[in-house]
Amino acid sequence: MGNPPQEDLTGFAETVREAYITPPDEAVEARHLAAMAAEAHTVSDQTIISVPAPAHGLKEALVTRFRTAALGIKLAALTLVAALATGGLATAGVISLPDSLPGVASDRAKAVHEAIDGSDPSAERCAFGHRVAEAASDGAANPEENGCDSAEAAAEDAGAEDAAGKSVEAQQNGATPEEGAGQAFGDSVSDRASGGEPKDGGGREFGESVSDEAQQLVPRPTPQPQAGPETGETQSQEAQGTGETHSQGGREIAESRGGGPPQD
């Protein structure tokens, strides 16, 4: 193939330029320039006058604005009708409107404030609350009916009844000054029984001694088992039972060693 001759290619380029680069006709040029000038002015006008929104958006905006205005007009008319009706009824005497409700509320608040400032809440709690309530109700609370006195009297009555009730209950339970001694006795018997004191043949003696001590602990021969303190009695009974058990055990041991039952 080889490289094309440079002179031929240069001549080709010159021939192409001479053949094709020619200005348009004057009529064509004039027509084009006029169209370009008109287009340039149109473009500049469009640049200056910018349309904010398309026609569809404008229509929607107008509809929305109209609906908002209609709703506002309806609300205003409704409010006006309600105000006129209320005023008419008040004029006719059917209803009574408050003269100066804000003023009344202000006076009431002022009285409450004075009641609060003029009292010591920590010193007289019930009376303080009563005074504040009286001020808030504008004297509607009856000062003759002092709730604080009634409450205190009721509290005192309740305290007395409570003390009396407790005393009766203690008497019914049979509480005596020897209540502590009984408990000590129960504890000592329990310790002795669990400490293994009557192990070798002394079970009977242990049971009998415990029984004697228990009888000595109760000086009054009261047959009622519930007369003693509940804890001491229970422990006494448990100790007695333990003593008998040990006594039985000691007897069995003595029989096994001596060949016969011990003599009582």
Binding site: M1, G2, N3, P4, P5, D8, L9, F12, A13, T15, V16, R17, E18, A19, Y20, I21, T22, P23, P24, D25, V28, E29, R31, H32, L33, A35, M36, A37, E39, A40, H41, V43, S44, T47
Partner: protein, 173 residues
């Protein structure tokens, strides 16, 4: 001149038109556009409309106008393919033949006819690259931007086109 054209100066647009219309029209004619004058008018109207989006100096503006012409040419070719019509017989229009009948003009007409025949043997891409290089006086990079190809591809098209032309010349010789 560009800044004056941006400020709606008619004289600026007239100057731009007189400078760029001949090579643009030559490009459209060499590419055998159906109606090169109408297409030339559309090219400059679009340039007026889109000037606010253009940024660059006058060399870039020249390449930009040729890009508009190239795209308009492709659009017209697509429209023409959808509505096929009878192609004109002549490959060199009457405008380039002149009106005289002297020997010089006859030789020029023959030379132009020969050039048109050689161009017709190039592929469309080779025609675009070589004609934009010769008539538009654009650089390889500018041509690449106009035709939407990489500069390497443009160089290859140019090289193959010139080889085809040299072969045609040697055959004619």
């Amino acid at each position: 001149m560009l800044s004056a054209a941006r400020s709606r100066a008619d004289w600026a647009w007239a100057g731009i038109y007189r400078e760029l219309a001949p090579p643009v029209l030559g490009y459209l004619r060499a590419r055998r556009a159906a109606d090169p004058e109408d297409l030339l008018g559309e090219v400059f109207l679009q340039a007026v409309r889109d000037l606010k989006r253009f940024e660059g100096d006058e060399d870039a503006f020249r390449a930009w106008v040729f890009a508009i012409a190239h795209n308009r040419l492709l659009d017209a070719a697509r429209r023409q393919r959808r509505r096929p019509r009878v192609e004109p017989e002549a490959t060199v229009d009457e405008h380039s033949l002149g009106v005289g009948d002297s020997e010089e003009e006859a030789l020029a007409a023959l030379a132009e006819k020969r050039v048109a025949a050689m161009i017709a043997r190039l592929s469309p891409d080779q025609q675009s690259v070589l004609l934009l290089r010769i008539l538009g006086d654009l650089t390889v990079e500018q041509v690449a931007r106009v035709v939407g190809k990489r500069p390497g591809a443009v160089k290859a098209l140019q090289r193959r086109g010139l080889a085809t032309l040299a072969r045609e010349m040697s055959d004619d010789a």
